[in-house]
Symmetry: C2
């Protein structure tokens, strides 16, 4: 609104945003704004509104970086597990973690459960649903999830492993509450959610309702307008994601290596009172790229390879074991 | 996933998306994809996932248009009121509607309530919260909303008018359920929600829980990557918005006139079984532009002018009456 129309002096002094700096930048200007923390709720939807609500509608404005005041995160959910909790859950110390995906959409539940069993027997740490496996009639959450969880538990008993399953949580709050109940009842060990599909507040409420590590998926993140390191690394982490999936460079997507390293850096960087979240590079990765990815991201990473394992067809179990061995070996041949 | 890795023939035939056409376009190519409706849930988060989930992460892909199969909308909330229901709620026939906004953030509740009373006495149809008035400590929903609603009811009793109040609904499902209860208890007559802030599924669930017209706000819509007519005109309408707020051309935002007309066209265009939604051009509009806006959008429109009225200071009541008279007069001087 017009600043001249603000009649309340305390609004002008304590609420109105301030322009702190305007600096020339290669592609325009870098503008630093100071917002009053009191305007943000403090909760995820109003925080997003203050950071990039109306600005998202401007074609030439991007949100590049956010700094939160000390203690700001305390009102938010924050990761319950973080990197250390995720390691403890799957029993993985001193090495990178492995992750794969159940797909395609439309597969019979029996087939998905067999696939999950094969992956678990190969020793993969986290088996997630493809984020396209939601709650469709061809494999409803309430029948799919218990069956896949049972297949993974059977494989764990066979191998002594601690593989966990992360099904996709989707829909509105009634649907999510039902899914939380189903997942709890059958002992599911992790969760997958795309915060921009269900809403950033729903990530936070899932985190509060579930007692398992949460993987955040970037779908609908439209991250060319909000820097991916801000949206995925900072905001998803603030609202409770324990692991941050993002499209790694050189795959099916076109993020640069620098963008990917920046996402990993914000996901696991220091933030007082907020546990580091596990970066999960993904999106068309292959077993052959394991050494390079471990070199890029180090040990505090979970590598996600889906289609490349599935493409092995009948050799899938061997290919999955190859993936696990490459990661456990630290990428050394 | 690699198509070659799909082993189930029925998935290939019934679930796999098809490329229907690839045509050259001025800025690249226009690609038409056919998705299986069964993959979309049918519910808002999974629909958004299928339409633009991973694609939103591609810098050179935009979602330009969507066509739904016959009957598809039946599984969704759809507008409960639509244009006709909104007209009936405020008692406005044969003319455009008027709307204004309470702001700024941080104002004392008393001040906002007085402002609402002034606007209602001027005969404005819908008084909405600025979408930045959420549930902050300086004006919590549960104390702000009953007080503003009371001020508007008092003004209505004075004038015989039927002005309604649309407070901002924000936060996660626990917060929304509480807000729904507060709004019902004090008889609030409309609602404002930004679906991209709270999540598209929350719009649908608000629509199902509230018995009042819902105004959808575009904040965080980042609509340069999804055509605004698709996101605001089609998806918000499908999920239950009765009125669609969007930044009109020539104001604080930079949508073209064509984009704005396209939003209005999809918001109120024919869709079997789905009531038309009221287009609400906004964003830095002025009373002087009323004739031009009525000429652009016709009578089935609600004009939203906020800051331009507030800027009148002590003359606000007169300026608000001028706005109402201009709209009731059909834009004729």
């Amino acid at each position: 609104m017009p600043v001249a129309a603000i009649q309340d002096l305390s609004v002008k002094e304590n609420v109105l945003a301030r322009v702190e700096a305007i600096e020339p930048a290669p592609d325009g200007h870098r503008v630093t704004l100071a917002l009053a923390a009191s305007t943000t709720g403090p909760e995820p939807s109003q925080l997003a509104n203050m950071l990039f609500g109306n600005c998202s509608l401007q074609p030439d404005v991007t949100l590049e970086a956010v700094a939160f005041p000390e203690g700001y995160a305390n009102a938010f959910a924050k990761p319950a597990f973080g990197i250390e909790g995720l390691r403890a859950t799957v029993g993985a110390r001193g090495r990178a973690l492995t992750c794969t995906a159940l797909k395609p959409q439309g597969s019979a539940i029996d087939r998905l459960a067999r696939l999950a069993g094969d992956f678990a027997r190969a020793g993969i740490d986290v088996i997630k649903d493809d984020h396209g496996l939601a709650n469709q009639a061809f494999s409803p959450f309430e029948t799919r999830v218990p069956q896949i969880q049972a297949a993974i538990e059977a494989a764990n008993r066979e191998t002594g492993g601690r593989t966990v399953y992360a099904p996709t949580f989707s829909g509105g709050w009634r649907a999510l509450e039902h899914q939380i109940q189903v997942a709890r009842d059958c002992g599911v060990g992790a969760a997958l959610v795309a915060p921009m599909l269900v809403g950033l507040p729903a990530l936070q409420e899932l985190r509060q309702a579930l007692r398992v590590p949460i993987l955040a998926h970037p779908a609908l993140g439209g991250a060319s307008r909000i820097a991916p390191a801000v949206l995925f690394g900072q905001l998803f982490r603030l609202c409770g994601a324990d692991a941050i999936i993002f499209p790694n460079h050189g795959g099916r997507f076109s993020y640069s290596r620098e963008t990917c390293l920046a996402i990993a850096a914000t996901a696991r960087g220091p933030w007082p009172g907020v546990a580091p979240a596990m970066p999960v590079p993904a999106g068309g990765m292959s077993v052959e790229r394991v050494p390079e990815m471990l070199n890029d991201f180090g040990n505090d990473v979970m590598l996600l390879i889906g289609g490349n394992l599935l493409a092995a067809g009948a050799d899938l179990p061997a290919r999955a074991r190859e993936f696990v061995a490459a990661v456990h070996g630290g990428g050394r041949p």
